[in-house]
């Protein structure tokens, strides 16, 4: 960062300065303060998507992907040097963007309040480079994928209270390919602007983005009480809903050292600052258990910001990845000025939102040991299929050799103050024949794992009950029911 450098964001092609913006101000309030009131606040916690905007982000290769994010969650300062497009920038009432046209003519808007956010999420999927290559899906999710390759999951983070969604789906499935002269489509072939070092100070404190890992660690040493923020999908909620303010925030979401996937002989090492969306793309099916988690992890808008490191680092008992990472026996790699150290994930959390991470350490990566267990399952129990918080989450990794369970690793979320391993259940399975009677006995043990709570998401009795049925379901899925045409 050069002192005195002008902080700015390019919005809809126009550079807008960030001077005078408080570091706690989120991108939504900043955009609205600029007069760009298309993006709306519906919830201020990344649940409704009414604030969605497009950001130019790396596409995994050398180009740009238009990525939809919740503007209510990210600090405006974190967009310094980046390119943003809002609903206003996609088109005007007289010159509608193709997404806007389809939404308008098909009755995709009623009250219209959620619509600019839907339009941005839909535009991101419209511009997804490999959309048209998606072959038609079959099976129970066929209705969630359009003939044009459009995946409805792209809209999983947008809520509409008026339409019932059918016309929005029809609009999405009617989209053609971008025109040859579509400016935003053409923009994809060039790289996004590189991340810049940023420092913005205001009444509440300072936002600082380090240029590299060493600078980030130096900042952390100088500010041991700093809040470390990547996608801001958790911290952003604390700021907006709970009035949290930090004297010092360190943005680590673009650190190149934290954004790599390395596949070795004995482990896959995943950079902590890769977003869930990037991770899904980079892993390309290499870890099947995680592939079961991704579509159930919050929404596309959240996955475009949330990172592996953040999901581990917040030490929440109800994160979606931790049960799976526990079942995979993941190891956390912590970086500090003294170098790296590795901590098995099962030892990482020490209590509710507590961990062994020292104030001068950053989560640099998570290592998944190889080889992987061949039989895996992830069951998230929640009220809603898209974008909900689990009542209970169960991840299972089994080695069944010659009909007998050689190894069982089970991670649980939502049953204790931290994510936990179901050690008693694992013991009840290991060394035994993989049969209904073994599984039924183990399911009884599983029912007693942890100390589930009664709360607004579920009763303790239900949580315990579905812990037990979860193993039975793994068995049933291994022995599919006879199918009939229906």
């Amino acid at each position: 960062m050069t002192p005195g450098q002008r902080l700015s964001v390019t919005v809809n092609g126009t550079e807008r300065g960030l001077a005078g913006t408080d570091p706690a101000t989120n991108a939504l309030d900043w955009l609205r303060g600029q007069g760009l009131t298309g993006a709306k606040e519906g919830c201020a916690e990344g649940e409704c998507g009414a604030c969605a905007v497009l950001v130019a982000r790396p596409d995994g290769g050398s180009g740009t992907e238009w990525t939809a994010v919740n503007a209510c969650l990210v600090p405006a300062a974190s967009l310094d040097g980046q390119e943003v497009v809002t609903a206003e920038g996609l088109g005007t009432p007289d010159h509608l963007h193709p997404v806007q046209h389809e939404m308008a003519v098909r009755g995709g808007s009623q009250c219209g309040y959620c619509t600019p956010g839907f339009v941005c999420s839909m535009a991101a999927e419209y511009y997804r480079a490999d959309r048209q290559d998606d072959t038609a899906r079959v099976g129970s999710d066929a209705h969630e994928s359009g003939p044009n390759g459009f995946r409805l999951g792209a809209l999983s983070g947008n809520l509409c209270r008026c339409t019932g969604y059918r016309p929005i789906r029809d609009a999405a499935f009617a989209l053609a390919s971008p025109a040859a002269d579509d400016v935003l489509a053409l923009r994809r072939s060039d790289a996004p602007r590189p991340p810049v070092g940023t420092r913005l100070s205001g009444d509440t404190g300072t936002y600082a983005r380090a240029a590299d890992l060493d600078e980030a660690l130096d900042l952390l040493t100088d500010h041991p009480d700093a809040v470390v923020v990547a996608g801001s999908t958790d911290w952003g909620v604390d700021v907006s809903l709970r009035g949290a303010r930090a004297r010092f925030v360190i943005g680590i979401d673009r650190l190149p050292e934290l954004r790599r996937v390395e596949v070795g002989d004995d482990a896959v090492e995943i950079g902590a600052a890769l977003t869930l969306t990037e991770l899904e793309r980079e892993l390309a099916g290499r870890i099947p258990l995680l592939d079961q988690v991704f579509p159930q992890f919050a929404s596309r808008l959240i996955r475009n910001g949330a990172t592996l490191g953040g999901n581990v680092g917040t030490a929440s008992p109800i994160g979606d990845l931790p049960p799976a990472l526990l079942a995979l026996e993941a190891v956390v790699v912590l970086a500090s000025p003294d170098g790296d150290r590795q901590v098995p994930l099962a030892d990482y959390w020490t209590g509710y939102r507590q961990s062994v991470r020292r104030p001068d350490e950053l989560i640099r990566a998570v290592r998944i040991p190889l080889p992987l267990s061949p039989t895996t399952a992830f069951h998230k129990i929640a009220k809603r299929r898209y974008d909900d918080i689990s009542s209970v989450a169960v991840a299972v990794a089994l080695d069944v050799v010659d009909g007998s369970v050689r190894r069982a690793r089970i991670g649980l979320g939502g049953v204790a103050a931290t994510p936990v391993r179901a050690l008693a259940t694992e013991a009840a399975l290991e060394g035994r024949a993989w049969t209904t009677s073994t599984v039924q006995a183990a399911a009884e043990v599983m029912r007693g794992e942890g100390t589930p709570l009664d709360d607004h998401r579920a009763s303790a009795a239900y949580r315990s009950a579905v812990l037990g049925t979860s193993l039975l379901r793994v068995l049933a899925d291994e022995q599919p029911e006879r199918r009939v045409d229906a």
Binding site: A24, R32, G38, A39, K40, G42, C43, E45, E47, A50, A87, E88, T92, P93, L96, V99, Q100, M103, A104, V105, R106, G107, G108, Q110, C111, G112, Y113, T115, P116, H143, E144, S156, R161, C162, T163, G164, R166, P167, I168, R169, L241, K383, R384, R385, Y386, D387, I389, H456, R457, A458, A461, Y462, A465, V466, L472, R473, E481, R483, V484, A486
Partner: protein, 834 residues
């Protein structure tokens, strides 16, 4: 047919046009109230101080510390109110309360230069409370005898005798949940003072006139000194019928006291914790059937959870009582209604306005009793439909009951019910862990405000010298497409192209004394008023045109943007556009208007409409409160996972009666959106209040979007077919149309009944299950467990067959591990129940 309902040739109404603001919506150019505040200079921001008790006296309130917070300008308290310290029409809602009546009740408001300063100022206000005993649940209120308002009884026939004579008598209870509106746009008002003390409030309100009234009485002003405007709302659903007034009044009070514009916008959590919701109900019932499953009698007590103030609870309860029959003839009926006073938000209007709750009771009765009667639920429902000439329990003749049958038959045919039932049976036979079911339920919903006086509307239509038309009416736009329909009505009435007509925002200084845009009546009432105004103008233009065309006035025909002589007019040839002997062939609209101006003809008109033929006695609960009934039928198919209770909505078919649709794209959108919203109420949306005895007693535990879940894309039916009933002209309503806003919500009861049937399919044939409401995956899981013989679901009370198991022996909160399912043999129809 009445002239009101007759359509001309090639009308603009009936065309499937997009929402009038669609292009503004999709580009972010449409303005909502809070978008105006960033365009306004010098705005102050308001933030509440919310009490952390369900019930308490405020013993001290000291704003001194708040005033030292940089940016804080003023703290508004009761002492600042120049008029009446009340935000409701029942005078039981102090704007600045001395007694906290619910957790989160705002005791004062802080105004500051920034929202952040206002928030910090609110944290600095010192308030001392003396906690008082509180009542949180409706069952607690019943036990404590804590009620408010009237306790109406709807009664017909010889109920007690009918129970004695019946073949089967069942009794049961049902706790049905409330619902948060969750309009995407939270409550918002922006107030400033014009010159001369005139107060101007922009508000996200469904009822600008009442907002105006409340602002005026809080400020101690006459109504003519207050103007309220609503550009549009980001959703309303009834939640902005009564609730906006207090917030508008706080903003207006702040503007008057500081001289600066004041913006009051609730955060989502403030909105969830402070504003009213759909009433949850407790229902206790006995039902008598004859040997063929015909309902003989219903005796029920419905207790709504009214929250802390009366609000709209009385009319909501009245509508619940008037819809407990749904589409069914119940010869002998006695239903008592009560409103619980609880320490919760003041429950209020919500799409359906008690109708859904009343209807759910009878559908729950039928769904639970069908297996006990040994009758297929589709057949049981159909067998009990109203037939021509029958009256509702409140004495209104049921007009067009054959339309309910038409919807029912059509949905069963187009929904391929017969074929799918076979396929579902085969699927269930071959799947141990997954079961499917399809259920069909009807809707009959009365249209009109129960309170007769509200059934009036006004409109203002301006024709400018260039021929362009500007309309204003008393209704508000919340996404339901009312403005779109009004534009179509005006273009049809004036016989001009739609492009000539514009619509100006709803304001109290344009059309006064309006009714709330509510009760699905917006298009019926305002459409007739717009049409009236247009026809007044046409009548004046007729004379001008007659002179130009050389025909008598009665032979002037307005069509297609022109005045022409009727083909059969004297002196006119058969050819279109023929004229009188001395006249022109046709006169274009703009020419005609211009000429009329020079002839000093008035080119604007105020239209008015009142619904005739309504009468209602709220004391005896008797009369004909409704102009007509809306009908519909839905078939919903679900698939339930036995491991978790999770389910998916595989297919929904709907046939719904909207008369001759004014705007089919809009109407289909209302049907689909209402259905999904209703499905949310019945399956997913789960308001949870802390009913412990701890310090957070009374707190709403689901006070954010992450804990209160609306339907998302994953809850949309995978196949969703909606048809509007054809040949359904409604006589006596504008262009033969019918209201559409509320009725489709109740079609979603089909989803709940399908879930019940799918859960039952995990047990032996004929299994009866009790399903909690909302039917969350957990609730369905317990219903599955019940079907499997593992006990009765929690939060439900079993149906009791009287005479075989005794009356009222069911536990209030059953133990899921106990209370085995009653034996199958008792489900055989076993002669007289008592």
């Amino acid at each position: 047919m009445t002239t009101l309902s007759r359509q001309p040739a090639d009308p603009v109404v009936g065309q499937p046009i997009p929402h009038e603001s669609a292009t503004l919506h999709v580009t972010g150019a449409a303005l909502y109230t809070d978008d105006l505040s960033v365009r306004t200079h010098g705005v102050l921001h308001a933030h509440p101080v919310q009490a952390p008790h369900a019930h308490a006296h405020v013993t001290r309130l000291d704003p001194t510390a708040a005033l030292t917070v940089p940016g804080v300008v003023r703290v508004l308290t009761a002492a600042d109110v120049p008029g009446v310290n009340d935000a409701g029409v029942k005078h039981d809602e102090p704007l600045f309360p001395s007694e906290v009546m619910f957790f989160g009740h705002a005791v004062c408001w802080v105004l500051a230069d920034t929202l952040e300063a206002a928030r910090l100022g609110a944290l600095a206000v010192e308030v001392d409370y003396e906690p008082l005993p509180s009542i949180v649940g409706v069952r607690e209120a019943i036990e404590a005898g804590s009620f408010q308002g009237g306790q109406p009884r709807l009664e017909r026939g010889a109920v007690d005798d009918a129970f004695v004579a019946a073949d089967h008598v069942f009794s049961g209870e049902l706790d049905l949940a409330g619902q948060e509106h969750f309009y995407l746009e939270t409550h918002c008002s922006l107030a400033h003072v014009d010159e001369g003390g005139q107060v101007f409030v922009q508000s996200s309100t469904q009822h600008p006139t009442e907002t105006q009234q409340i602002v005026a009485h809080v400020l101690g002003l006459a109504s003519h000194a207050v103007t309220v405007q609503c550009l549009r709302m980001g959703g309303g659903f009834g939640g902005k019928e009564m609730q906006p007034h207090g917030y508008a009044a706080v903003a207006a009070l702040g503007a008057v006291l500081t001289g600066r514009p004041v913006r009051l916008r609730l955060t989502r959590t403030q909105d969830l914790t402070m504003t009213g919701k759909r009433h949850g109900f407790h229902a206790q019932w006995r039902a008598a059937f004859d040997g063929d499953g015909r309902i003989q009698a219903l005796d029920a007590t419905l207790t709504s959870d009214g929250g802390w103030s009366l609000d709209l609870s009385e009319p909501v309860l009245a509508r619940a009582l008037c819809h407990v029959d749904n589409a069914y003839w119940i010869p002998h009926l006695r239903v008592d209604g009560r409103i619980a006073l609880t320490h919760k938000t003041s429950q209020t209007a919500f799409r359906g306005f008690g109708g859904p709750q009343g209807m759910l009771v009878i559908e729950d009765v039928l769904g639970r009793c069908a297996p006990l009667l040994g009758i297929d639920p589709v057949e049981l429902r159909r067998r009990n439909f109203y037939t021509a000439g029958q009256e509702t329990p409140y004495g209104q003749v049921v007009r067009h009951p054959e339309r309910a049958v038409a919807c029912w038959d059509q949905v069963r045919t187009t929904g391929e019910l017969a074929e799918r039932s076979v396929a579902i049976a085969a699927f269930n036979a071959s799947h141990e862990h997954t079961k499917r079911a399809v259920a069909v339920t009807p809707v009959k919903f009365g249209i009109s405000f129960n309170f007769t006086a509200f059934n009036q509307a006004g409109a203002l239509v301006h024709v400018y010298k260039d021929g362009s038309v500007l309309i204003t009416h008393g209704g508000t736009e919340m996404g339901q497409g009312l403005h779109t329909k009004m534009l179509q009505v005006a273009a049809t009435s004036l016989a001009v192209p739609l492009s000539l007509v514009r619509l100006a925002p709803t304001r109290t200084d344009k059309v006064p004394n309006t009714s709330a845009t509510a009760a699905s009546s917006g298009a019926d009432l305002n459409g007739a008023a717009v049409k009236d105004a247009c026809e007044q103008i046409l009548d004046r233009l007729r004379a001008v045109a007659a002179a130009r065309l050389g025909v008598p006035g009665e032979d002037v025909r307005f069509e297609d943007g022109h005045a022409r002589a009727a083909a059969e007019a004297p002196g006119a040839s058969a050819a279109s556009g023929a004229s009188g002997a001395s006249g022109e062939a046709e006169v274009a609209w703009a020419d005609l208007v211009s000429e009329a101006y020079y002839q000093r003809v008035q080119l604007w008109a105020a239209g008015f409409y009142r619904t005739e033929g309504l009468h209602w006695d709220s004391t005896t609960m008797h009369g004909s409160p409704f102009k007509y009934y809306s009908y519909g039928a839905a078939a919903a198919e679900v698939e339930v996972d036995g491991f978790t209770g999770a389910y998916r909505l595989r297919r929904v078919d709907i046939v719904h009666d909207v008369g001759d649709s004014l705007s089919p794209l809009v109407d289909v959108g209302q049907v689909e959106g209402g259905f999904v919203q209703g499905a949310g109420w019945l399956t997913l949306e789960d308001l949870r209040w802390d009913d412990s005895t701890g310090s957070s007693r009374g707190r709403l535990a689901t006070a954010s979007a992450s804990t209160y879940k609306l339907p998302s894309f994953s809850e949309m039916p995978e196949v969703f077919n909606v048809a509007l009933l054809e040949r359904a002209t409604e006589d006596g309503v504008v262009y033969g149309s019918k209201a559409v806003g509320e009725p489709p919500l109740m079609l979603a009861i089909s989803v709940r009944e399908a879930l019940r049937q799918a859960a039952a399919a995990f047990g032996p044939a004929g299994t009866q299950v009790d399903l909690a409401s909302p039917a969350t995956p957990e609730a369905v899981f317990w219903a599955v467990q019940q079907a499997r013989g593992a006990g009765q679901p929690p939060h439900t009370v079993a149906v009791v067959r009287e005479g075989s198991e005794g009356v009222g022996v069911a536990p209030e909160r059953a133990d899921p591990d106990g209370h085995p399912l009653r034996p199958h043999s008792e489900q055989v129809a076993a002669g007289r129940g008592d």
